[in-house]
Amino acid sequence: MSKVLVIAEHLGGKLNSSTARAVSAAAAVKGEAIDVLVLADSVDAIAAEAAKIDGVSRVLTVAGPENAHPLAAVLAPQIAKVATGYSHVFVPSTTFGKDVAPRVAALLGVAQVSDVMSVEGAHTFKRPIYAGNAIITVEANPAHAVVATIRSASWPAAATGASNAPVEALAPDIALPAHTRFVELKQGASDRPDLQSASKVVSGGRGVGSKENFDIIFKFADKIGAAVGASRAAVDAGYVPSDLQVGQTGKIIAPELYIAIGISGAIQHLTGIKDAGTIVAINKDSEAPIFEVADFGLVGDLFKLIPDIENAID
């Protein structure tokens, strides 16, 4: 029978919702147990959150100052050690998981399945290639552990609240490397909803024209309680920081409502929003490819249309 180890992602003492999404994927394996592993400097609050996720059998913790920051070189040997006895190791396909999971797979000497969209069987998965232009079915060899990253946008977060899994502290006895050191994390402070988990997202592209003009996007997003995203062109032009980039090489998101403003709809951008519930496109070019995928399209100048929309909402 399968046993799945899910690696918790967290920041600032809080569990990231990508963890509960990975638990949903773990449940689809239909194994006998799902354990969540928390590696942190202080684990208690994070473990308590993880213990409430439905379907979790146990929460395992490894506490220590060396785990204060998610350095792949430091975390991977600990995860690989704990992974002994598990048939599956699932990690969210966020920058955290993309960084650490392949290092775990290599230590275990196994292949990794990246960006799992669906679990077809304990060793059969679907994942996107070519920026989502093809979906492949992949079979992993059942003789080996499966290391996989879970594409958050494909999975709902497992419910929380009803359960209370036991928490067990582990102390894996292994030497850790000192060759990699954390220096700092520069975070744009924002009280807007988080781009990756928001139910509404408003994104701006090169059409917005400047950093100053991007205020119109932020104001509109705040008015409707949305997170803010951007195209690569908008990030490259310096209108907004890189963590707002949506797309193949940015964030893959699945909000209920996605509003693309001044974004042409390049394939690399569309990859990031395929799973959105409703897509709205606002663009002055009626031929823009974004209209091919939009549920509602509105042709015109964004600087006129956004105020119009704000007025129509009131």
Binding site: I129, T180, A294, F296, D308
Partner: protein
């Protein structure tokens, strides 16, 4: 207890004589709209345009800039793939690499195998730095660099948007979901590139001529002693579920009404 220990191969790297290995994979050009074969056996690649993986162009550009700054001495591009990769490698040489290594195999190479090949080359070449793309835009696996770093037991700095080399270490700014993270990695190390690390230079005609005399080492995959029994089998290819084209609304009021009706506003 977890005790820190120095990594393997941690002897201090002399930057001025440092060698940089660069992953230089050929992929279907990013402008090509990939079609899945009707029988689900693969994607159509006959006759489509092939180019260097964009992230690998960025990796090569970064290596060249480090050499131009005097931080490295030699830049070697590496490609693992079929016999007809020579023209592709010549592009890397024309861009400015000193030489190329072509590991020849006609089989598809999964990331773990690619990482094992790179490890063999690392053992032979003793580079101070290996720079790979964060992902190849065909398989989008995003694994090879991290796997190489694990097998080599050396630091990894993935998704780099800024790299500084000094005093035997790399200080790397990484684009992560939460913002920008800065880490320090002792050399030798593996770096994988993100899009904003640099803008690759264009190849000039005279460079193409010059590149003709630069060496390409050819190594048969089979001679490396890398086990290639990969653990993943692709059994089916499918086109993604299509979003159907929606409706055009005539003005802001109609849009807001439609969204309110769906309970989205």
């Amino acid at each position: 207890m977890n005790v820190p220990r120095p990594g393997r191969g941690g002897s201090r790297v002399k930057e001025s004589q440092m060698k940089i290995l660069v992953g230089y994979k050929r992929v279907v050009d990013y402008n090509v709209r990939i079609q899945v074969k009707p029988d689900g056996s693969g994607v159509v690649t006959d006759g489509v345009k092939l180019s260097a993986n964009p992230f690998d162009d960025i990796a090569l550009e970064e290596a060249l800039r480090l050499r131009e700054k005097g931080v490295a001495e030699e830049v070697v591009v590496v490609s693992i793939g079929p016999a007809d990769l020579t023209a592709h490698l010549r592009n890397g040489l024309a861009m400015g690499a000193n030489r190329a290594i072509h590991v020849v195999t006609s089989d598809a190479v999964q990331p773990l195998t690619a990482a094992r090949v790179f490890l063999k080359l690392v053992e032979k070449e003793q580079p101070g730095l290996v720079i790979l793309g964060k992902q190849a835009i065909d398989d989008d696996a995003n694994q090879t660099g991290q796997m190489l770093a694990a097998l080599w037991d050396r630091p990894q700095a993935t998704f780099a948007s800024k790299v500084e080399i000094a005093a035997g270490k790399a200080t790397v700014t990484r684009e992560i979901d939460a913002g920008l993270e800065v880490i320090e990695a002792e050399l030798p190390a593996v770096i994988t590139t993100d899009l904003r690390l640099n803008e690759p230079r264009f190849i000039k005609l005279p460079d193409i001529m010059k590149a003709k005399s630069k060496p390409i080492d050819t190594i048969e995959f089979g001679s490396l002693g890398v086990e290639a029994h990969d653990h993943l089998k692709t059994t089916h290819y499918a086109a993604p579920a299509k979003r159907s084209k929606g409706v055009m609304v005539k003005d802001a009021a109609e849009l807001v009404a439609a969204l309110k009706q769906k309970g989205l506003l």
